[in-house]
Symmetry: D2
Subunit: 144 residues, 4 copies
């Protein structure tokens, strides 16, 4: 996976993040990912003011963006060496997130087929579920 670096300092030392500037990912991130001891993907970031809506709760768009990025990280092994695009992402908002909280994403690959990968997951805030999501990634045929 090109463009990924391992954080060396701070709360997320040892976690990977995209090495990117001047993109949507850079603007609202960084979001961090790593594999846990069981090989399952875990995503995390610390909620900042910039992630909040005008009511002081985490913006739904922030949650969905985190989910969309997590989708590919959860499907990490199935995607190895190939590219893909999200074709569907269904989001259910169950609670609100706040500044300073640790926001985490986990999930599972329901099925990885030849052309489509089905993923489900959830985003939590200090243990409270904020968002559940279900997504489909379509594998892209390699160029060339």
């Amino acid at each position: 996976m090109p463009g990924v670096i391992i954080e060396t300092e701070g709360e997320f030392a040892g976690w990977r993040r995209f090495d990117t500037t001047d993109t949507f990912d850079a603007l609202i991130g960084p979001f961090y990912f790593r594999q846990d001891e069981n090989g399952r993907t875990r995503g995390a970031f610390r909620a900042e003011q910039k992630h909040m809506n005008m009511g002081g709760r985490m913006h739904g768009g922030c949650l969905m963006t985190f989910a969309d990025i997590a989708l590919f990280q959860i499907a990490y092994q199935e995607m190895e060496g190939s590219r893909g695009v999200t074709v569907q992402l269904d989001s259910t908002f169950v609670d609100g997130g706040y500044v300073g909280d640790l926001i985490e994403a986990t999930g599972e690959v329901v099925r990885a087929g030849g052309s489509l990968i089905f993923v489900r997951g959830q985003i939590t805030d200090e243990g409270r579920t904020l968002l559940t999501f279900s997504g489909i990634i379509k594998r892209m045929k390699p160029r060339g």
Copy 2:
């Protein structure tokens, strides 16, 4: 609707936008809205590099954020004087958006009930559909 200002200059003169700083809306926007001659909500923004993913296409998170904000603008009249939260937002990604393009959102209130408002819509890029979405807003009881 407090916190809304009318743009006075440039491409979106006459359109309204949120008067906000230091929020997610401010970070990735501004997104512009207005009512067309038939009273239907139209949203728009000009795609910038900051809205792109690492592959040079508009980030799914940007599209979903625009959809989430448009949801409430489309339900503008039904929401008048009350607040609400998104409880569901289903997104189907049908095509890619690019820097410099005019991105637009339109939609319809399918039904406005006493507690839930059902909205459908689409985001287009110069006429090409990028995203279709379907969402549910839950009305919040006024604090008091």
Copy 3:
């Protein structure tokens, strides 16, 4: 499309339906389809007691089944000569349907790609919207 016959009598004379017995389609149908003057697919059936839940309203499962079948009929032209399977169907229930009512389905192909077809639609009951739906059909490669 093999297995389709044109109804010759009654309310749906001139409409097509599946020529099937001993299937789920036969059990809960027949559901009728035709193209309107603009070439757009229209589905319809007359609500019977067998379509109702224990509360006397049309069962959500009946609405979703009608939507699933309509999905393929709406994508009729794009599917010509090929087979497909539903990979995603999102359903929003906005109102209740009742015995004796004319239930109709309409919709549009949002995009027909090489492998996926995106469809949106709605089911109405005498003009009232009962269900909005959004689905994805995956084309199956021909056997052989």
Copy 4:
């Protein structure tokens, strides 16, 4: 829960099912439910020819109907003494089911709020996942 009986014979002896005739539930069921040793709801039925589509696989409408009914059974405790309606049901079809197979549904209440109950689940066929679903139940205010 009125209208429920406990099956006394056959494969599903000890499971509960709706005591209903002349409804959609009766037409395509019976579907069986019970609580497992941990109090979690488990649904099941034996796939018959009547559940199949014209291609010999379980009809998507059958799977979604089973999911819709399971939704309320999974939320069994939270619904105790009250009624509700499905407002959203998102379905992802991941594999096909066949005649003679044991079809099972399980799931979890993600959150039970004052007006909305969020449920996720899956339907399996002899261990293979056929459908994942995510739904929202809206509590109905008691009449009277």
